[in-house]
Symmetry: C2
Subunit: 329 residues, 2 copies
């Protein structure tokens, strides 16, 4: 990974050129950094997809955006969608992910299709707006769960996404318990006002029963990707409880299908986000509804991008790391 001179790409028809403000480093970016996604990422390539920005110039035919507008980018390119996708644009079979399959946001100037943009409300902090992408993931997860006020939700895994899911679930009116093994993350969750427990130290089944009048959890968000979590998640649920699979499991894992039958459990996957999730996330950011600032571990300028990746790699306690991509004064 190196820092170098890029090219300013003039916006074509339907495109917008952005001055990137901040861009977060995603777990996927670290996978790319480790060479795990070389099949999709053609080197050399600029990556990064968690960006806030201001509009620099708009291409032909673009309406609704003007230079100076604060925006965030929903980095999904569904232009190869077909009728076989049945309208599920955000997870269409030939979806291209901007920043992985095409150039990303770790640069001053970035040119993207206008349909990927959401305008940030006036006064939105662009640093926090760089959390819009992972926050939209969390909003999508909570929406997929159909989470209702008063329900008991267990979030398994307290990384950045797990923490955001817990915050959004609580904002939706649910009781939330976060299950996590890392002491730093447990402490951070507590500081965010989220009840957080170590599953090796607390009997989660008993805790869920206690908090629900004996019924069990309504929803489990599986964000950890751990085999042990997959094996135990069905134990926690009430009759007709729901599991949302947020984590990416590269290999099949053992699941207790007997519990699915016995309690008529439901499990559903959740991937990326739809436009409404972005709008919800932007509102939460603009309203300062969530303590997002506390999730930012550090911010580094674009010139120190390689150091930022190294530091993130070496720090098991890191949450979100942002890159300040603004052209240096």
């Amino acid at each position: 990974m190196r820092v170098g001179e890029g090219t300013v790409v003039a916006p074509g028809p339907g495109e917008v050129r952005l001055n990137v403000a901040y861009c977060g480093i995603c777990g996927t970016d670290t996978h790319i950094y480790h060479g795990a996604m070389d099949k999709r990422v053609k080197m050399p390539q600029v990556i990064g997809h968690e960006a806030s920005a201001t509009v620099a110039e708009v291409g032909e035919g673009v309406t609704g955006f003007a230079p100076g507008d604060a925006v965030v980018v929903r980095p999904l390119d569904n232009r190869l969608e077909t009728p076989a996708d049945r309208g599920h644009s955000h997870i269409c079979k030939n979806l291209k992910f901007i920043g992985i399959d095409s150039p990303g946001a770790f640069q001053n100037s970035w040119t993207v299709p206008a349909f990927t943009l959401h305008k940030a409300p006036v006064g939105t902090d662009l640093k926090l707006a760089a959390l819009c992408e992972p926050l939209a993931v969390a909003c999508h997860d909570v929406t997929r769960a159909g989470l209702k006020p008063g329900e008991l939700a267990v979030v398994m895994g307290g990384g950045p996404i797990g923490m955001l899911v817990a915050l959004v679930a609580r904002e939706a009116g649910a009781q939330v318990v976060l299950s996590e093994v890392n002491p730093f993350r447990l402490k951070l969750a507590s500081e965010l006002g989220i009840e957080a427990v170590h599953p090796g130290e607390t009997d989660l089944v008993a805790l869920c029963a206690e908090k629900s009048g004996g019924s069990g959890a309504d929803v489990v968000f599986e964000v950890s990707g751990a085999k042990a979590a997959a094996a135990s998640m069905t134990d926690l649920l009430a009759i007709r409880g729901r599991i949302v699979v947020v984590a990416i499991y590269p290999q099949p894992v053992e699941i207790n299908l007997f519990h699915f039958f016995w309690k008529e459990i439901q499990m559903l996957g959740a991937r990326v986000y739809e436009p409404a999730d972005y709008e919800k996330a932007l509102r939460l950011i603009a309203d300062k509804a969530l303590p997002l600032e506390k999730l930012i571990t550090f911010v580094k300028p674009l010139t120190e991008l390689p150091q930022a990746f190294r530091e993130l790699d070496e720090n098991p306690n890191a949450m979100k790391v942002l890159i300040d991509c603004r052209a240096q004064a």
Copy 2:
């Protein structure tokens, strides 16, 4: 297993004494026969729970039923239901299954709570009505799937329940493909007008794609209980496809959670039935909407119950075996 003299139990308040007409042998009955459920079944005990009957006498306070009425029994006793079950009576935590946890229907005279009864429409064939219980299972499975006309449903496993699920799914207007390895069952399915394929001989993924304009199956009913089916079922599904877990898996099995994430798949369990499923099943039987007669392998009198279990055990091709429980003339 032996045949002997039973006791005629006079109906108490809220109970009804039945003259049993026919009672089918369920897979669960054969498990009991093999000693696999000795923890729940207290010997000696009359088993059997797939019964049609006529009312012999009604106990105090019973309304809506009179001697001579043709009925079927929904063998679920939810009298120990609690608020923690949240109204899911049919799968409440302390559910008792009549014919397993309490005496069953392989007898001439059977006394049951009146709330378990559904009146069969006038003229209903009581032999076919004995299929109401497994047919209600199939109706419940199809309802849980939310199956819509024109959707593509794959049924994995062509035993009695799989065959009934396929028939109910087709009656609901779906395109149906049954996956089964037993040549006899494949042939029987074809005779019932159901497209049936051997998953080792037909590329099911390609078949589903072909039948759905490239999308994949809308619903997979997993009725086989086979590890290989659990491992492959997620391959068949369209984006946002649904899996209904009907089979009972005693051990955890490997599931491809990546597909859940990637295609936002949904999986839900389905167990027994609710009252509406019984009403649906009774209507299908009374209307002769399904070729149920073809699923009856043989009928034996109650005096030959042990032989019936032995023959069923020795015949891998058997579908439904009915016991004629009517008092011999």
